[in-house]
C-alpha cells in the first residue's frame, strides 16, 4: 500500500482533530479531539514502521527494523492514558467549581 495514502489519511485525521479543537467549546470534546490527533500520529508511526521494515527486509529477511516505531506508539498510548487521568481530574475539578466545562468561562486571567 503506498505510504502516501497513510500520510494523507493521518494528516487528515490530525487536521480534523485540530479543527475540532478550534471549533468546540466543551473542554472534554476539545480533549477528545486532541486524543484523535494522537491517534492520527499513531497510525502514521505504524505505517512508517512497516515501511521501514519493508525497506530493510529487502536486504535482510530477519530484520526487526521498524519495531521502534510501534514501540513508540505504545509509549504514546501510555502517556495518553496518564494524561487522560490527570486531564479528566482537572476538568472534573473545574466542573465542581463553576458547574460548566465551557472553556469560554476560563477568562478571569487575561491581558
Amino acid at each position: 500500500m503506498p505510504i502516501n495514502y497513510y500520510i494523507y489519511l493521518s494528516i487528515a485525521l490530525f487536521c480534523i482533530g485540530i479543527v475540532g479543537v478550534l471549533t468546540r467549546r466543551n473542554a472534554i470534546i476539545i480533549f477528545m479531539c486532541i486524543e484523535l490527533m494522537l491517534n492520527a500520529v499513531n497510525l502514521m508511526l505504524v505505517a512508517f514502521s512497516k515501511m521501514h521494515h519493508l525497506k530493510a527486509a529487502a536486504t535482510d529477511v530477519a530484520t526487526t527494523a521498524g519495531t521502534e516505531g510501534q514501540l513508540f506508539v505504545f509509549f504514546i498510548m501510555v502517556v495518553a492514558a496518564a494524561e487522560v487521568s490527570v486531564g479528566l481530574a482537572i476538568i472534573v475539578m473545574m466542573y465542581r467549581n463553576i458547574h460548566s466545562v465551557d472553556v469560554n468561562f476560563l477568562n478571569r486571567l487575561k491581558h
Binding site: 479543537v21 478550534l22 467549546r25 472553556v103 469560554n104 476560563l106 477568562n107 486571567l109 487575561k110 491581558h111
Partner: protein, 630 residues
Amino acid sequence: MQNASHIIYLIAVLPLVGFLINGLGRKQLSKPMIGIIGSGVILASFALSIWVFLQVKSGTTGTVHYFDFINVGDLRIPFEFKIDQLSALFLLIITGVGFLIHVYSTSYMQEEKTGDYGRYFSYLNLFVFSMLLLVMGGNFVIMFIGWEGVGLCSYLLIGYWFKKQEYNKAANKAFIMNRIGDLAFLIAIFWLIQKLGTVSYDQVFTPANLAKLSTTDITAITILLFAGATGKSAQIPLYTWLPDAMAGPTPVSALIHAATMVTAGIYMIARSNLLYSMAPLTMDIVAYTGLATALLAATIALKQNDIKKVLAYSTVSQLGFMFLALGCGAYTAAVFHVMTHAFFKALLFLGSGSVIHAMGGEQDIRNMGGLSKKLKITFITFFIGCIAIAGIPPFSGFFSKDAILLSAFEKNPVLYGIALFTALLTAFYMFRLLFITFTGKFRGTHEQEHHLHESPATMTIPLIILSVLSVIGGFVGIPEALMHGGDKLTAFLSPVINVHEGHPVSHSTEYTLMGLSTVLVAIMIGFAWFKFRNYQRSEATGFGKVLENKWYVDELYDKVIVNPLHQFGGFLKNIIEKKVIDGLVNGTGRLVNYGSRQLRLLQSGQVGNYILLMVVSMVIFFVIQFFLRK
C-alpha cells in the same frame, strides 16, 4: 636688551602688585595708604618706562622671553615682552597719563567708602597692568591677553557703582561689544598660526614670512584685525559702547578715553603696519571707516548736553581721525595724534571731572554756565584743552591733526575735505561746550551755586601738568615744512614704522592747507562764541533731535540684532526644546506605553483564540518555509 630683561617685567608687574595689595587689603588699608600704593606703583613703572625709553632712544631694543605660555606640536607661543620704539612710547603715555589720573582720583573718589575706594584703585591698577601687557606683549597672543584684560577692566570700572542697574547694563554692553571685536582678532591670530605657525612679531614681520602670505590671507587677516580694533577703539559699527561708558567715575573715563583702552586699536594696527601696507583694500576700508566715524560722532557731539557725553563723542571722532591716518598709511601721524590726544583729552575729562565735582555730580551743561569765575584753574586748563583739540597752532592738537589732514590730502583731496569739515565741527562743539559751561550766567540751583568751589590741589595739579603737555606736546612732530628735522617722532619711530611713500606735496600746498584749516577753525570758534556766549536752554527740534538721539543707532541695534536674538532664544527654549526635541524623546516612551496597552489585548484569555493564533502562525510559517523561500 638682555641686560634689562630682569627689570622689564617690573613695569607690568608693579601695577599688578598694586592691584593685589589694594584688592586684598582694601578692608584693612586706610584711604591715603591705598591712594599712595595705587599711584606709587604707577609712578614706579612710569620711572621704569622713562628708563626703558632712554634705553630705546639710545638704540637698544629687543624681545625678552620669559617662559613658554603654550607649546603644542609645532606651535610655540612664548610669554615674551617686546621693547621697541613704539611700545616704549606707549609705555610713557600709559604710565604717565595713568599716573596723573591716579593722583587725580585720590581726591576725586574721596567720598567713597574705604572698601570701594580700595576696589576702585585695584581696578585702576589692573587696568594699567593689562594695558601694559597689551603694548609690551611680544606676540599677538600676549597682546590679546592684555586686549581682553582692558575689556574686563573697563567692564569692572564702568560697572563700578554696581547698585545702579543701568550702569551695569552699560558695563555689559562695553564688554560684549569688545568681545565681538575680540573674536575677529582671535580669528586673525588663528589665521596667522595656520599660515605661518607663529604669532611672535619678530617672526611674523620678516620678509620671508610675509612673502608666504597670499593677498587674500593678508587682506583677510588685516580686515579681521581691524574689526578687532573697531571694537576696542570704538569705530563704526561697534562704537556705541563708548559713550555709555560714561557711567563710570570720570577719571575712569579719562583713563579709558585718553591714555589706555581706546588707543589699543591704533597700537595694534601701527604694530602690524607691515601687513597693512601690503593690503591696499584694507587700507581704504580703514580710512573710510575712520572718516565716517569721525564725522558721525562729531555730528552727534553737536547736540549733546551731558558734558561727558560731548567729550565721549569727541573721543570717538578723534579716534576716527587716527584711523583715517592709519588708513592713509600715516602711521606715525596716528601715533602722534594718540599721544597729543592723550594729553588734551585727559585734560578735558579731568577738567570736566573737576566741574562735576564742583557742581556736586551735576553733568548737564544746560544747568551750568558762568563757572569761569568760580573755577579759574579748571576754566583755563579746559580752555587750553579746547584750543588743543580744535587745532590752533602751536598747540599740540594742531600738529598731529595737521599731519593727519595732510596724509588724507595726499591720499585723496575729497577725504581731506571731509576731514577738514569734521575738524571744524570739532572746534565748534568743543567751544560750544566751553562757552555753555563757563560763560554766560549760572543756570543751576542755588545750593549748587554757593556750593561751587575750585577743586583741591591733587586735582588741579594734574590739570596743569596736562595742560602744559597739551601745549608743548606737539613740538615733537613739527612738520618738515615748518622746521627742518622737526619731525623727531617720525625719526624716532622709523625703525618700527616704515615711512609711507605717498606722492609728497610741495611745501607751498602744505602751507596753504595749514593756513586754511587754522583760519577756518578760528572762524568756527568765533561763530561758537557768538552763538553760545550767553546760552538759553532750548529744546532741540527736527534734525537737531535726531542728532541729540545719536541718529537712533542704539535703537536700531536693539531692533535689528538684540531683540530678534532674544525672541529666537525664547522660541528655542519654549518650542524647539520643550516641544520638538524633548517631545520626540518623551514621545518614544509614550509610544511604548501605548503599544503595550494595545498589545496586551492579544492576551484575550480565551483558549480558543490562543490555539487559533498558534495554528494560523504555524500555517504562515509552513507557507514561508515551503512556498515562499527558495
